[in-house]
């Protein structure tokens, strides 16, 4: 291993801005995309449930 301290690791030999700028944005994107999809799924499921409840109230269960 070439790192002698935590500070050295984060400094990335002077390339911190570029290396962490790349990894940071990528990590953020790969976390946000699944979260947005989870929300999209929850929204569809919720609207389907609402529709079903409305159907049942009208006395026409599907």
């Amino acid at each position: 291993m070439q790192w002698h301290s935590v500070g050295e690791f984060f400094a990335m030999g002077g390339y911190a801005l570029y290396v962490w700028g790349s990894f940071g944005v990528t990590a953020l994107a790969l976390v946000i995309e699944p979260l947005l999809l989870r929300k999209r799924r929850m929204d569809v499921l919720e609207s389907l449930r609402r529709e079903r409840r409305a159907d049942e109230r009208q006395g026409n269960p599907s």
């Binding site: 291993m1 070439q2 790192w3 690791f9 990335m12 030999g13 002077g14 390339y15 801005l17 570029y18 290396v19 700028g21 790349s22 990894f23 944005v25 990528t26 994107a29 790969l30 995309e33 699944p34 999809l37 989870r38 999209r40 799924r41 569809v44 499921l45 389907l48 449930r49 529709e51 079903r52 599907s62």
Partner: protein, 246 residues
């Protein structure tokens, strides 16, 4: 033979693919995490400092993975879109729509990490060079596909229009891939190729390949997650969806 045909049709319907996708999902998530952790560990703690680029070269571990995925996902998207156009199968077109946003994200990440790599090494965030420009066109093709589909209200018409755009755009993929050979560009040549041994340390190469596998598994997981949402949205009036939600 008879068996295969039956299977294809069986899983070709959104109704039977929906639970199958749900079963495959955790496996792809697990593989993405395993490959990702192994790749990051190799990339940051095992791979040596580069003789020329110092620690700055470590951007390669995501830059190459994102770039490969952006091209590969385009081919996957065009394949499903083309299949949907030719066979008029709903699920194929849904798959194409499910892959497109992730492909666009990969193309963006490829350009973003490329800019952050180009600045310290070439002295510029951007040049209108063949490799960079054709990758930018790839991003625009993805965005064009998404915008076109979003602009058409009727889903099956949107599928068809998107499919034609996706198929025409396929010509751009080999242009990106061979751009570093066909033109004199600032971008370096291929890091890995089939007919010559790779021009980098073995640990760097393995880190890169593991990250590529991680992005690959991630893309599949996210595409499955998205296709499940698309299936529910588009098939919402069908009986099986109503029962599935109960």
């Amino acid at each position: 033979m008879q068996n295969t045909i039956i299977h294809w049709f069986k899983y070709g319907s959104p109704q039977s693919f929906y639970p199958l996708a749900g079963k495959m999902l955790p496996w792809f998530v697990a593989l993405a995490l395993i490959f990702g952790l192994a790749g990051l560990w190799l990339g940051f703690f095992v791979a040596p400092t580069d003789a020329v680029q110092g620690e700055g070269y470590r951007i390669i571990f995501i830059h190459v993975a994102a770039s490969w995925m952006s091209m590969f996902l385009y081919l996957v998207m065009a394949f499903w879109a083309g299949l949907g156009l030719a066979l008029n199968t709903r699920l194929s077109s849904m798959m194409a729509s499910a892959v497109a946003p992730t492909g666009a994200l990969m193309a963006f990440l490829s350009l973003w990490t490329g800019a952050l790599w180009g600045k310290p090494m070439w002295g510029t965030w951007w040049v209108w060079d063949a490799r960079l420009t054709s990758e930018l066109i790839l991003l625009f093709l993805y965005l064009g596909f998404l915008a076109l589909q979003a602009a058409i209200d009727e889903p099956r018409r949107a599928d068809k229009a998107g499919a034609i755009l996706a198929l025409v755009g396929v010509v751009n993929v080999p242009i990106i891939y061979f751009s570093v050979k066909w033109w004199n560009t600032l971008h370096q040549g291929a890091s890995v190729s089939i007919n010559k041994s790779p021009s980098m340390a073995a640990t760097m190469l393995w880190g890169m390949l593991l990250m590529a596998l991680c992005f690959w598994m991630y893309s599949f997981a996210v595409a499955l997650l998205r296709v499940r949402a698309i299936i529910l949205e588009r098939e919402r009036t069908s009986e099986w969806v109503k029962h599935a939600v109960a």
